[in-house]
Symmetry: D2
Subunit: 381 residues, 4 copies
């Protein structure tokens, strides 16, 4: 460890994502042999009390309450943006200007205009940058990409993805504030489109290439909710549900759907891709399994294989335990941290960069535009 | 049995559906106690040899090679239309004119214009009529309706259905003729829309009420195939795949998709419906199970229940074996036959009548219109 | 049909098994092209009313109330023994003496002494004979045998089977009489051992060869129940649950368990067999699926394949519908009927013959002996 | 963190278990609010190089190559025994004599004689002690115990458990040495009995109380393997497979089986418990799910519930992420560490103590005795 270089991390945000990223940087060195050892240098929260509590819990060396100060600190190499969406652009641009590497929570921004500013900023500054679409680095999902790259599926005909939740069905749930900013359109930018479909779209673009056109519908089932900040009942601006049809540039067809009103589903992100020779399906609720069907198998023995992705041969899994012993959600962030650090060592960009994540934003924008207009929309590149 | 009245059945068509319906009428009296005993009176096929072979196999008393003769026979009470779609209208209108009861295979017709003629004909003639959307009578599906009727689900937010197959991926598969008329647009009317989505739509309308608007896309992946009748390579006129978004009149949103290019799926008809309190899912590949989630269950014990629908309390199941011992696909037709015969006894229409099935046709038409125009389409009532 | 020879069937017993066998012989000619057409000639029940009702429901031409008369009728070719276990021996010996072919419900008898008499009788008479271990002819199970015969599994290490039910947990359930003779030891011979484990053992012997030694335990959880015939509370003589360890002659180890006290299971017959190269598992609650794992698959793609055994290539399935459309429990009896009739045509015995089924009986006897003595017992051949 | 007391940990062993325990103590403070903060004080390995590499990877402050030195260090509060089984007794007795708290990897020892010495040592010394049967603290398993304690299952009739692996099938796999000491009987004490069945037995005793009697069989499929230490082909002394029948003191029956020759299973630990009212099943390959069946559910809606144990209400889960996002294998060790530290704070023993784990050892001994003698054996208390 003595011989490793330090990578000084400054964390902005102490919520759910602040925790997943802190955990990742704390753990990554125990499991991956990397050139850099992350050092949890500083954390920034809105109040001193919050920052200190978080620092104490995770072992950050110092605290800030003004993110601008953190961004400007000389002893910070990497800025982690784990704040609500409405501050991504401003923080990222300041961090880029200060020459910091940046990992930004998804979605990149509230819309592609904001996102484009961010892309320009990091590219101009020439700093390493990544958007945290963590599900790419669940081993089963990484393996899906690997199988597609090897040509195992052949020509692709279909892609389908859903991300189903059920936590906002109650009309008594308020909107806004620290806990519920995802329900406040001015902060989040959109509802399930930016929150959940963005994940589905990121994976889809990664596995199946660019989307050409979409047609969408959205719905807000609960039209008014009490706002946590004003105490008033206010109109709900987000989309509670969103579904869209898409055509990929490779000629395949797709359906996407997301909602927070699908009773019985906590975080059911499922995707399936059907190729000429083989198909793949995956499900976040059983994230360590990959379903695989290969038509080239002997006729009577064809069936969907339930692959328990826990062997040393499987992506990332040589770093963990032994076959059969699964890892969980948090490990996707550890893998992301490891890959990001390797990218630094090699001086290479790590996917998805801000620019790559901008495409997801552009699909989201087209989806929302289509839902508003009732038309097929072309993705603006 | 001596005391039962005879119901003389005349079957037109000796294909896959001719077999399912013949089996149903042969078996129904062994398991259901009905006022009428079906008698397999006559079968009509295109050639005498085919008709005789089928009659011999299934025990039909006589044969015809001209369906008009069968329809006019005095000793026939019920005409079964198990022919390709392009003949449904003509046969049905003649049978209605002859005062026969009619069971017509789905879809009702190639389009709603044809369908409307048929509806008018049976209603004018006042004859019992039914379209064979058999999946309604899989016990698990019947139970889904029962649970929804009881209000178990509460307000409905979402409906989703897919019907996925993979049998036409090979470019070497020809189109047309007896075996492959489903690939010939002039005979079938459409591709997966009328063949597979029609099933999904029928179930959806039955469980969740009318659809208001749709937006759709279709694709023909293999543009040309040899035609079995002409021996020439001809343009393929059917939709190989079709997906659409829909809004139901009750305010719920839906996605529907069907294809014959989803590698790994033989006949995967899956639907799911999400309500405020509970959700239901079903899958044709495991048709004897119903998945049910109830949010009113004790918190830590909430989970999807996998219900093995094989108890005497479950719909139709008191007629079969003992708990745990499942029935299969063919039994949905036996249940349909039993219900149809009970309808005769009670002088009541049995769902789905031609008129009810016309609504499915109207949705199919709107879907195809939307796919052609790229617009949201309202269902024409 | 005109050109087929008749096979005149005489059925003794009108219960659950009387129905499954009647259904099989009524249907078999519709789906299988056989030299003989079964004719439901006569049915025998304890009362005339019962016999007539059953004859009317299933189309038997005549009735008897004394099985001896049925057995002696010149117009009967095949005697079906679907009565409780205590009458199997007597009926079978009379039928053999009368030169009839015999299909006997399982288990062959109450014990192997009775069974041996029956074996000798049919062998001496030289009549075709079969014991109805129907699960062998579920397509997925037949395919398991086929894969093992092909050597797909290699050397076998392990076999395990359970048959779990939960229908006798209530203390208020009486024993004995027509409905509940399975709980009366004097009629049934044993409890779950002869009723459920006999199925497991039959499949195991068929798939994995002979069992050498066993050690067992049994339990009767409810010690006394009201007897339906006497109206008195009487001691329960059957085993409610039975489990045993076994060593096969091929060196593999096995565990077997059966009970009627496993809450949540209706008729969960599950077996699994593990070989050097591959493993197979099957489950009666999803009888149309076979689970298959092959270690020779590419490393990262190894997984259990869930094979939907509904293709034309799968055993018996070319006779039924199309891929993806499943058959059920009753079809195993249709397959048995078809195979039995083909055996007649070819003049060949059809498995399991009385002699083959005697081995299952011998294992059952050893199991009960071991449970009584607390010792390892060798199977008496 | 400043206000927390330090708990100085001394780790002996750098293998698989050294890693799981180190990870647990490093992470526990990030997720659990505890009075003590573990400090990774020292690690002991056989060579200095190994110890230093491990210290560097995990952040241990110092190293030892002689465990006796580590045990005697004044700055160590807690000794972690993560060495092969043959050293457990000696290290534990020395650590107890030195007044250290002890966490010992399972099984407690090679046999109950050794185990009893260890129990006496820790009880005499009055030091906190725990055996690392980590699966108890998988949230789904903890919840099983909770449901049983609440009486949800009622009277228990059946328990069954298997632990199936397939990693030693190849005859070319050697035995012994650092990597493969589990195949060397002199080091491990036994094969699958102590390694895998010990887990099954621990859970069973915890959930269902004491076992009274057992009858068992064992097998060594590969009789000779090259020994890594001698380079010679030597007799294999361990049991490759072991199965046993058991009777619990509460009157329920059980089957247990373990093997390393079940092709297709990596670490398939499955248990099921059947009660009068409800049943529970769990599977290590999907460790975040609990299967639950409740007969008191409405009749037609009875089914096995697949509970995704990832809600804040579920055991331990309020410490982790959000509903639907699962944790993995390693977290069971974090929970164990948290509970152990809470036990220190409260001055209370934490299960399973050495004494409690001795009972598992006594069952293992009886199992091996029975397998050797072919007799039913009573557990020696």
């Amino acid at each position: 460890m003595a011989s490793k270089k330090n990578l000084n991390v400054g964390m902005i945000g102490c919520g759910f994502m602040g925790r997943t990223h802190s955990n990742a940087f704390r753990k990554v060195g125990n499991f991956f042999d990397l050139e850099y050892q992350p050092v949890l240098k500083a954390v920034c929260a809105r109040t001193q009390a919050k920052a200190e509590a978080f620092a104490s819990q995770w072992g950050y060396e110092s605290t800030e309450t003004d993110w601008r100060k953190l961004v400007e600190r000389k002893d910070i190499d990497l800025v982690e943006i784990c704040t609500p969406n409405d501050s991504h652009r401003e923080i990222a641009m300041a961090a880029a200007a200060a020459g910091k590497m940046i990992i930004c929570e998804k979605p990149l921004a509230r819309n592609s205009e904001e996102g484009l500013d961010m892309v320009k900023a990091v590219e101009q500054a020439g700093v390493a940058n990544l958007v945290s679409y963590n599900y790419r680095r669940v081993p089963a999902v990484t393996m899906a990409r690997q199988l597609i790259d090897e040509g195992k599926l052949g020509k692709i005909f279909h892609y389908r993805a859903v991300f189903l939740q059920d936590w906002t069905i109650s009309k008594d749930l308020p909107q806004g504030g620290t806990a519920l900013w995802r329900l406040d359109a001015s902060v989040a930018g959109s509802g399930v489109t930016g929150d959940l479909l963005a994940h589905c779209i990121d994976t889809a673009l990664w596995l199946n290439g660019s989307i050409d056109t979409v047609t969408a519908m959205t719905e807000t089932f609960v039209k008014e909710r009490k706002h946590n900040l004003t105490g008033q009942v206010e109109k709900v601006g987000i989309d509670d549900a969103c579904a869209f049809l898409a055509r990929f540039r490779n000629g395949s067809l797709a359906t996407f759907e997301s909602t927070r009103y699908a009773r019985g589903h906590k975080a059911l992100y499922v995707f399936e891709i059907n190729g000429e020779h083989a198909s793949i399906a995956w499900d976040l609720h059983d994230l360590h399994r990959l379903q695989y069907f290969d038509h080239r198998d002997e006729g009577i023995l064809r069936g969907w294989r339930s692959i328990h992705v826990t062997d040393g041969e499987h992506p990332y899994m040589d770093k963990w335990w032994v076959p059969g012993l699964q890892i969980g959600y948090e490990h996707s962030f550890v893998h992301q941290a490891a890959d990001f650090i390797e990218g630094i060592s090699k001086g290479q960009p790590v996917s998805p960069t801000f620019r790559e994540a901008l495409e997801t934003q552009q699909v989201c924008d087209a989806v929302l535009r289509s839902a508003a207009n009732g038309t097929w929309e072309k993705i603006k590149a």
